[in-house]
Symmetry: C2
Subunit: 306 residues, 2 copies
Amino acid sequence: MSIVVVGSVAFDTVQTPFGRAEAIVGGSATYFSLAASQFTAVNVVAVVGEDFGERELAVFGGKQIDLGGLERAPGKTFRWGGEYSYDLNSRETLFTELNVFETFQPKLPPSYRQTDILFLGNIHPSIQLQVLEQVESRRLVAIDTMNLWIETTPAELRAVLKRVDIVLINDSEARELAREFNLMRAARAIQAMGPRLLVIKRGENGVLLFNEEHVFVAPAYPLETVFDPTGAGDTFAGGFLGYLAQGQALDDEGLRRAIVFGSALGSFCVEDFGTRRLEKLTRDEVVDRYRRFKRLTHFEDIEPGE
Amino acid sequence: MSIVVVGSVAFDTVQTPFGRAEAIVGGSATYFSLAASQFTAVNVVAVVGEDFGERELAVFGGKQIDLGGLERAPGKTFRWGGEYSYDLNSRETLFTELNVFETFQPKLPPSYRQTDILFLGNIHPSIQLQVLEQVESRRLVAIDTMNLWIETTPAELRAVLKRVDIVLINDSEARELAREFNLMRAARAIQAMGPRLLVIKRGENGVLLFNEEHVFVAPAYPLETVFDPTGAGDTFAGGFLGYLAQGQALDDEGLRRAIVFGSALGSFCVEDFGTRRLEKLTRDEVVDRYRRFKRLTHFEDIEPGE
């Protein structure tokens, strides 16, 4: 089984109440692939500039991550800088230098065109469509998107939504996309736009999964120390889809377990700056946290007559 | 088994984006007793004025609610008015007329002084202490409190905390009481002040239960229609403690089930204005919603080696 991610690889500069990290490797494809590689081989399609060297590539080293689709273009790598509020619940973008990402035209290597799962990170919907055209077969396509595309390219985004199986967005984006405040009604409205499955991310308040019939709610793992929320959403997506790409059935129970694995991966991501925690994460730690999620949320059925 | 609640009975005027209700019966003791009476007999200690007549008393009618501790004082009943924001997540208090509640000195009737569970609603900590002095025996004491008492009567509140088993507060109050933003650390700090158990309420994001060893997270029930959040917290408390007062063990599993019953009751409360939904609620509906919570949050264990 295999998984392809199309997204960004970037240099992030992050300021949190607990410290500062300068030009560390980030981007949606980075976080996604580190998380998904806990479960399956990951094929990365992204672009970096000439300033992205061996030291940066080492982030992906020793893992089942194939960089055959990582293009190196003349110029500088995408750079982003952000600062988090004291409670880590909001952040301000300090700068965005798209650089080589601005003209990124993703090309899937021939060996990536038949894939089990395809994840299209948060990029322009027209680019997402171009990638979809290149895929010869797949079991599942998932996308992320953001308020920028909801507001500026609604028609293109609608065209993408008609062709994908899963959308992963945060709660405010879901409300904006559906033009509906109530999340239950917003979810049904988005599913009516095309995707069979919808994952609504609520940060420290966890995740909602909607399929045709059911709603599943998973909490975020309560941590005593949250260092840096950057990349948590893409890490969640990598854990969620990576687990499914192991060959898991896409039924309700399989999707629920995948959501919990995604939440587990996301909870590790925020424990340290950037990708630091994910780079050294072991499979045993992931399984242990899955079991802690079970303990965190479990309660007994009641007996008839109770 | 029995439960005593000491709190307010009030006339509420509520404005939500969906409508307005004028001078309907509300107050912490009202919502609490309607919820708890789904499980056990409830003894109410509160005060009303001369304007509280038969029509208002009918709210408690036909239920296992004893009003022997409901004092009638000269003057008017406590009145509160509030208006909710478009998303129901914040509210503005438009007026507070304490009236007879201002000089309320709760007196437990002799038959209430030996009780299984005592719930002290959100009232002045000195009054909470006065009630504790009147209790001859009890298995469990729970309190609610608010930012006003955290800020203005911290010493009295600390004295109460030393003598109770469970505190139920919302997340911002927990942070303020512990002077700690991280909820996990805030919870441990509050437990160190006395209470063995802590319930942190997060509104539409559910509830956290802390005991000595474990954390349990329950979501709020996702509803397509939320009409009026007034009273949801006291309704939660009534369902939670009412279920325990049936004779449930106060162990981890029993407390978890109680939290889910509390959440179920809270989810009914918000479906209509004021107490309307709770008045006609049946035991079958409560049990059905408990089972829906189970389906909403359930996921399978993973097998070794998966």
